[in-house]
Every structure is written in C-alpha cells, then in structure tokens.
Symmetry: C2
Subunit: 360 residues, 2 copies
Amino acid sequence: MELSERKLRILQAIIGDFISSAEPVGSRTLSKNHDMGLSPATIRNEMSDLEDMGYLTHPHASAGRVPSDKAYRLYVDEMMKTHDIPEELKQRISEELGTDAAPDEVAKKAAEILSDMTNMISFAITPSGRESKLLYVNVLPVADRTVVIMIVTDDGKINNTAVRLTTDYTPENLELMSKVMTHNLKGKTVNDILTMNMVQTLETDLRSLASLPQTVIPSFMQTLEKMLDSNLYMEGYSKVFSLPEYSETDKAKEILSLVEKKDHLTNVLVNRDDGLVITIGDENSDDMKDMALITADYRVNGKLVGKLGVLGPKRMRYGEISSVIKYLTDNINRSFEITGDEDDADKEATGAPEETEFEL
Amino acid sequence: MELSERKLRILQAIIGDFISSAEPVGSRTLSKNHDMGLSPATIRNEMSDLEDMGYLTHPHASAGRVPSDKAYRLYVDEMMKTHDIPEELKQRISEELGTDAAPDEVAKKAAEILSDMTNMISFAITPSGRESKLLYVNVLPVADRTVVIMIVTDDGKINNTAVRLTTDYTPENLELMSKVMTHNLKGKTVNDILTMNMVQTLETDLRSLASLPQTVIPSFMQTLEKMLDSNLYMEGYSKVFSLPEYSETDKAKEILSLVEKKDHLTNVLVNRDDGLVITIGDENSDDMKDMALITADYRVNGKLVGKLGVLGPKRMRYGEISSVIKYLTDNINRSFEITGDEDDADKEATGAPEETEFEL
DNA sequence: TATTAGCACTCTGTCTGTTTGAGTGCTAAT
DNA sequence: ATTAGCACTCAAACAGACAGAGTGCTAATA
C-alpha cells in the first residue's frame, strides 16, 4: 500500500491532535475538527489502512488511534515545520546569555530558559575538557606552604586547586615551575596529558626544584582529571506533573528517577551525535523507550562540544522545541565566538603565555 | 489533665508506630504490638484523653489516631533518642569527605550521603562568601588583552574571572595592580568591600595605570558579587515516591515544586538558626506546613556557615536523621579545621601575600 | 475506682454490576 | 469510491453492597 496524499493529511491531523490533547483521536472528532470534506467512515477506512502500514496503533478495540513511533519519525522528517521565535523570547535570550559569562553559567541559564519555554524537563551539559588545549599553567603563592595551581585552557575555562605543601617554597621556585610546566604542556590536550605519561618528563625536568613537585604534580593531575567531567544542569523536573502521561505516580517516578541518574544522563548526552538530534521511542535506549529526546550541541571556541536537550513524552511539539533549541545553541555559539584582535605581541611576564590563541 | 507516665508511654508507642507505618494507629493494634498490659478499651480511653490534650488527631470517625504537631514536638524534645552511626557509614563518610576538597565538593557529597542514609530529599548549601575576608587579589596575564582576576579568601575559596581588556597591558601594570588591590583590600570582608564604596579609593590609587582599571574593576566587583551567593545542592528528589504521603501526584508535585525553587529554599536555609534545628509542621513557613525540616550548620574555618538539611513528611525518623546530620556536620567541621603551621615568613613574590592566616 | 468486655455505630476501601459514551468494523446503499 | 447505518467493544463513571478497622459508650468486673 502507498501513502497517498490524503492518508498523509489524515495522519498529520491525527498526530497534531494527539500532540495537543494526549487523547487517542477517533474518526468522528477528526472529521469535525478538521473539516477535510470526508465522513468519519471514510476516515475510518483510511485509519485502518494507516494502522496496517504501521503508522497508527490502537490502545484497545474501541479507542481512537494513537501515532506510532514510525508516524512520529515521519512527522519529524517530512511534515514538521520550523517555528519563529517570539520576539520577547529572543529578547530574554539575548539578555540572559548575551554577556560573556563562564561556560557553566551559560549552560545553567540555557537549561532554565529551555525548560520555561517548552514546559518540559530540560538539561545542558558543559563541554568536557577532554579536548581542550592547555594554554598555560601557573603555580601561585597563597600562604605559607600553600600554593594554588591554576590551569587555563583554550576554551576559556580557568581551573584552580589549592595545594598544601610539606616543604617551603620560594617565589623563584614557583615561577620556574610555572614556566617549565607551561613550556612542556602548552598546546597539548588535557586528555593527552593524562593518557601519555607526561608526568615522567615533567618530574625529570623539575627535579631541580627539590621536593616541590612531589606534592604539586599529583594535585595538578587531579585538577586535570576534574576538567574531564562535564557538568549537568537540569531544570523543570516538577513540570512533568502537568503532563497527563505522568499523572500516575509510577510514571512520574520513572522519568524522575531516570533524570536523577546524572551520570547516566550525561553519558547519553555525550555519546549523542552532534547537530540537532531527535530520537523517538524505540530509537532511544531501553530506559527511555516511551519518551522523546531532542538535543543539539553548542560549541565553545568552535571546538568543544556541550549539549542542550529536552526530554519528554513522544507526544512532543517537535517543531517548536527544535526551533527554540536551535535558536539557543546558535546564540550560544555566536556569543562564544566573539574573538578579539590577535596581534600576537610577545609579552614576558610571570608564567605568561608566549603565544596564544585565546578566545572568549 | 496531666500527662501521666502511662499516657506518655502510649503516646510514644503511637508516634513510633505511625512513623514506621504511616497508617493511623488504632487501640487494638497498639495493644497487640506493644503488649503493655492494657486492653484496647483502656488504651482507647487514654487516647481520647490525649486527643483532648491536643496530642492526637482523628482523620475521621472510625480511623486510628495520628500524632499532632504538638506530639512530634514533645517527641523531639523529650523522647527522641540519639542513634549510633553504623560503622560502614562512618567509613563512607570519612572516605568521601576526608580529603580536603573544595567547599562545593564537600557540600555536594554530603547531600548525597545524607539522602542515601535517610531516604529523603536532602540538601546542602555552601557558605555565602559574605563574611569571608580577602586574602589577596591577583591580576594575571592570560593572553593578549585578556587577564584573569583571581581572588583568594580566607575560607579556602579561589574565585576567578577572565576579563577582556580594551587596551594592552604590561606585566608590570598587572603586578602593580595586584599589589595595590591586595594592599587596600586585604582583611576586609567581601560584604564590606561591596557596601562601603571602596571602588572610589581603588580607582584613585590605580589612576597611574591609565585605562586598565576601567575594565578590570567592574569585573572585579562582579566576581565579588558572585561570591555572595550560596550554592544549593540537592539530592534524592525521586525518593519521595516511595513515601506513602506522596503517593498522590498532587502531593508529590507539591513537594517537588517547592524544592525546585532553589532561591526560595536557599533563603529558608540561610535564615535558619545555627545548630541542629528541627521544625515541624506549623513551625515552618506556609509552604511546608505538612512537612518537617531538619538542618544543621557546618563551619569552614570556624566562621563561615553552610547548612545541611533533610526535608520530608512530619512522620520522620527524627532520632536517626538528626544523629546522621550531626555526625556529618561534625565531620565537615573537623575536616575544615586542619590548620598548617603558621610561621609567617615574609615571602616576596608577584602579588604574594605579605602576611596570611590561610587555613584549608 | 480503674479496667475491661461487649455492642452499636461509623467510615473507608474494595468489589461488583450497570450505564454511558466514544469508538471501531462491517455491510449495504448511494 | 464514499457514506450511512448498525452491531459490537471497551473504558470510565457511578451506585450499591460488604468487609474491616476503628471509635465511643455502657455495663460488668476486680
């Protein structure tokens, strides 16, 4: 059998109705609401065909029809329209994301806005530092026997850890240490430094600094490890209660427990393809088989990838939500692309970079 | 009427039973379960008295009795026992909180442990930086026209923000700037700096650095403002579903929406008295009238106050939960008290502190 | 006089049967 | 090819019956 023009129109109407009502849609109501010049009986016949073709299902004998995963997929691929973003939302986005804040702040804000707009659970993960390149390392004095290791990477993140030493330091020690570490590690990715055993080399180079490296290097490595993690920000989890599919406590519990496993969720998001990705029902992993997930990536400095997403029932306003996500990520990308003039003058300062490609 | 020894015993039994079953407890079951040598009829009479005295209520004519807020209060004040912490929990706490991590990490971990142990929603707020004293300020070169302002305070927090400048800097500029700012602001609290208009003075002192301060000072103030905020970490919100009082969706929604208003919750916690505080039912603000909240503060460097708390139904295992919270906060306090030797040698390094009282 | 047994009464929750409404599928008429 | 009509199905809403757990009161008891 073939998907005639008319079948398509009927299918689209059913999907549309079901998305907004969450009730199985019957032939009679459909013919009333959409006045497509067909009697309920005709529509019934078409519906029956559509069911045979796998686009519709029947919760039970005397209920209306519900779109199948296949139908949603068709809808998303062929029938979905992009929506314009209301002016006030644009305004809000530019206000709250406009300033060049830290990646973490941006992710959090974006998740908030997304949840407000879509009335669903939304989240954002910040980029993993895995592929970010070291710009420079600085070991700074803070107090007696306490120093701070500061690591700056090319994605605009600044990471620091305080380290308590077992021996005294001299400012010259630290300065030298900063220089040696920066010189050896500059341009390498965090991942590289952690996997290739760079520590060996470093420790050799720093042997002259007596016992200092013994306490500083491990902390340095720990800080790097922390930079591998993505942070997950989530918003709007109490919104599920207003959706009929989660009116039963078990269902609500299901989605909320899922979403509380932050590590798992982060994993799912990290492993997703880039670009705007929509997965529906069966296309998801087992624990999301009756949900839909829409995500898009955003980039910091054109390379590191964070993700923004919305999770909810398959009955989703795919068009609107993807438009909003798209708009948001585009906006974030733009705000992180603002690049200053790059007149690589060679500054010589304590542990300062000799040449950089820093963009914020 | 007076609370006889026997009435107390009966009341205690009722509260105990209700806490573990969540069902109104009747005279018959009580006499069975506790074998206190009294017939149901006698117990009924006593119950009736207890009801007259305001310790029990009656959901409806033929239901068992339920403790009133007044009863819980009595229980908490007079009958509650402290519990020993199981060895394995102690172990876990010392493992996960033992290392001297950053305050934020500690708060997060503590909330996790607390939620695991109590099976309730738990949270932790990190101390506001309001009262932390500036140790020193360092303005560091990162790239062309990009510097990082780094602020170190006496509570072990290190805060930094990247700033894009409109003009070029020289390392000497920055060094001088760091020194002037540190000299002027050292020992002052974040709050003081923000309220007393210190900026004026600073800008005058820094006039020699031409246009640099114009871009750096505002960012500096912004960073300080960020330090005023407490962070709220929350865990275990999907646990509410296993509690009978939240089996209805509205009830679950109620508590989860409450808990999603992070700002509000932070406020409630911040404004609470220090020490172990238990508030029950009516003692809470309007939106928590049928819940109980247990909190305790923890200190960083003996002064800054963070809070740890558990929120749930009034039917709470007050004894166990307070014991765990107590143990946790004691532990955190201890881990933040470890103070290194303080042999104030005067180190002269780039922007290094001239004298310090840094404790980690 | 305090305690207890006994009994009538009350309320909730569950179970069952009935009705109603929305829907389908099929067939026969258009 | 389309549609009207009709029998049939199922879920949800409703009402009545019943069991269970409880109370309160009264009268008997130690």
